[in-house]
Subunit: 420 residues, 2 copies
């Protein structure tokens, strides 16, 4: 059985609650902890008010997690309340810590030099950052404010400043120390990705195959359903994980069980065969190209393409015939085919990938409703076209369309690989 | 003083706690609520375990907020626990709701038709989504799962599915209903947007001018610094807000004080003048077109363009001369000019907007370092080119480049408007 330490995260800051700033620390540390094999039970983002922060810390300690991480509220302003609230909840006094004061002096030294001030001009205002709950230890600062390490029963508590770069710099040695003392058990992971099955269908396979030993998570995004299996290094656990992967490969449309995403597979295949890709996009307006070029080094295989948003561009730049457009409409299998074939030729690329559809909210008709999308792929073995009918708003339809196009290309690339 | 209803948000889902998915719903609804003049006191993200979810709901109701929003955990799988946990915490039974069942049947009808199944094949598995805590009301689904509305003392509780597009679609009528019944106090808001100033410089203007009555927030993204001022409808408050806006307009590079974003201004100007736009993108790979076409109705002015990622496409499709490419390099003012002029011609558009740069992490040289970007805009009054040198990683450089291009177009459009 995998021993997964239970962790809770508390983020303090009004700016995280009023739409000004999107949290970076909680997302970052949760991903780190998941990779280390810990189970994050909650992330509690709380306003800069003493009563709310104390209530949040009490609630968090109530469930006796093995690790609590606090980010934010360490600083010099009146709404920096973490040290005082923590002391209150632990039932101890706030005391000036000699080591923390020395760390603070060190950090202020650099600032004093840059601003040509004496350190004594800076220290009085900054000094409250050396106040720690009695019995806790300071953590060396990345900026000015030291962090703090405390204990409460079985719970280890670490508090950090909320500035993301300071948080990451100061978290790193804490993580290393916890790993070194064996706080986290070694955890193995398998990721299985499917495309084209519903979440419920994949969940049913898991329900049938799953035993108690494995930690299994399932996520659905853009038509893909992803299963993440975590297990320890015991031979029995490995065998169980293999069995579950095999069951999924047998019963679900699995396209990856080695961790790679559809983007990874497309990039790997094109790179390995020294083949190239051009895109022709209508309703996605450039989003397919933008996603492909998120990857550093994509210039090795991606040549570019045409955003043929207006029909004029489909005709003038891509050479889609006016007849085809008039007869079938811009959102049609025929136009998707012509776009894919033409852009491959224009970009002198091995593959041409096209998208044309009705992203909404307007523009739908009974024959061509919002969410109807045609995707075409021209390759060495000819051209294939497929259609999707996606639910959701404009954002969702466009994202689904891009993912569908990448899967069509992946199929063309991997079928060709299998045959060759 | 502004009366701000107290709100708490609970997000349920393991995928939000293990790094698989970055929360979208909490961020979205917190921003909506802030705009409506509510104070979000906490966002609590909790694992899909009944005991943890119940503890989270109890903790949330303990502080007697006026509004609780729950996202996630409504569905058909074993880890969809919101209805049961809510019933437990409210001390009521879970009951099948006739209205919810009818909503569910409606939603399944469409799926059954598409998959050519009888609805009775789908209903048994889906039926648990019609179970609601006794005394609560169903909310019409955007996908399949209905939401629910409940009360607990002074607290209004609304629960939604976690799929972001469903959450947003279902939140919208709830928000409208709350606004209509006067749940939110009327809060006035001014948003002032600047481009090209540092956050510290704008903060200094605020510090000098700010009084206690105003709630003022500042955010920096992609080279823009945005100030949001909230105030009540008293004449004195209005005057203070006007004074602060005037100070910003005097001392900072303000491009909008009527709430509009740069995207809004560009769309409004092009629409009003019945002018059109084409884009030519290199390092952004289609991201500029993707951003412009996020807006429904953008086909009125956006014709499309060329993703000239490889130099071959710059030459073959855009007609940038091989000499210019060889002499100045692809990342140069000359190539940005040629791309903008050529794509305007190719797309028969009033404006041509181009981006070419080094997004990194590779490809930088001492003369053309990572982060160097040239942006060109061809319009009725000629062509302008500007250059940016952006910090950060590939994602940041590409986002900054797109924003810079939109500002260059905005300037071309508004200068022309001022002169005309």
């Amino acid at each position: 059985m995998v021993r997964m330490p239970r962790v809770a995260v508390v983020l303090s800051g009004d700016e995280l609650l009023d739409g000004r700033v999107v949290d970076a620390n909680g997302t970052y540390v949760a991903a780190r902890l998941a990779a280390l094999g810990a189970r994050v039970e909650h992330i509690l983002t709380v306003a800069d008010q003493a009563d709310r922060l104390e209530a949040a810390l009490r609630f968090t300690l109530d469930s006796s997690p093995e690790l609590v991480i606090v980010a934010g509220g360490l600083g010099t302003t009146h709404d920096d309340l973490t040290a005082a609230s923590l002391a209150q909840v632990l039932g101890v006094e706030l005391e000036e810590d000699a080591v923390a004061l020395a760390m603070l002096r060190d950090a202020l030294q650099g600032i004093a030099q840059r601003r040509r001030l004496a350190i004594d001009e800076l220290l009085p205002q900054a000094r409250r950052q050396a106040l720690l709950p009695a019995g806790s230890e300071p953590l060396a600062p990345a900026g000015v404010a030291p962090g703090m390490a405390a204990r409460h029963g079985v719970t280890r508590i670490f508090a950090f400043p909320g500035v993301p770069s300071e948080f990451r710099t100061m978290w790193s040695p804490v993580e290393k120390a916890l790993v070194a003392e064996g706080f986290f058990a070694p955890v193995l992971e398998r990721v299985v990705r499917t495309y084209g099955a519903g979440e419920a269908a994949v969940a049913a396979i898991l329900d049938a195959a799953r035993r108690d030993l494995l930690d299994v998570g399932i996520t659905a995004t853009g038509g893909e359903v992803t299963v993440k299996i975590r297990y320890d290094s015991e031979p029995a656990s490995r065998m169980e994980a293999d069995d579950l992967v095999a069951a999924l490969e047998r019963e679900a449309p699995v396209f990856s069980s080695d961790g790679r995403t559809v983007d990874d597979i497309v990039a790997d295949e094109l790179t390995a065969r020294r083949e190239t890709l051009a895109v022709a996009e209508s309703c996605t307006g450039g989003g397919l190209g933008y996603r492909i070029t998120e990857r550093p080094g994509s210039s090795a295989y991606f040549v570019g393409g045409v955003i043929s948003y207006a029909d004029d561009l489909k005709r003038d730049v891509l050479g889609v015939s006016a007849d085809t457009l008039a007869q079938h409409g811009a959102v049609s299998a025929d136009v998707a085919t012509a776009m894919a074939e033409s852009v491959a030729k224009l970009g002198r690329a091995t593959y041409g990938l096209s998208i044309t559809g009705v992203a909404g909210p307007g523009g739908g008709t009974p024959e061509k409703p919002v969410g109807l999308v045609f995707v075409g792929c021209r390759g060495p073995r000819g051209t294939v076209v497929t259609q999707g009918r996606f639910p959701g708003d404009r954002v969702a339809v466009r994202q689904h369309s891009i993912t569908l196009a990448l899967h069509l290309l992946r199929e063309a690339l991997t079928v060709a690989a299998g045959d060759g």
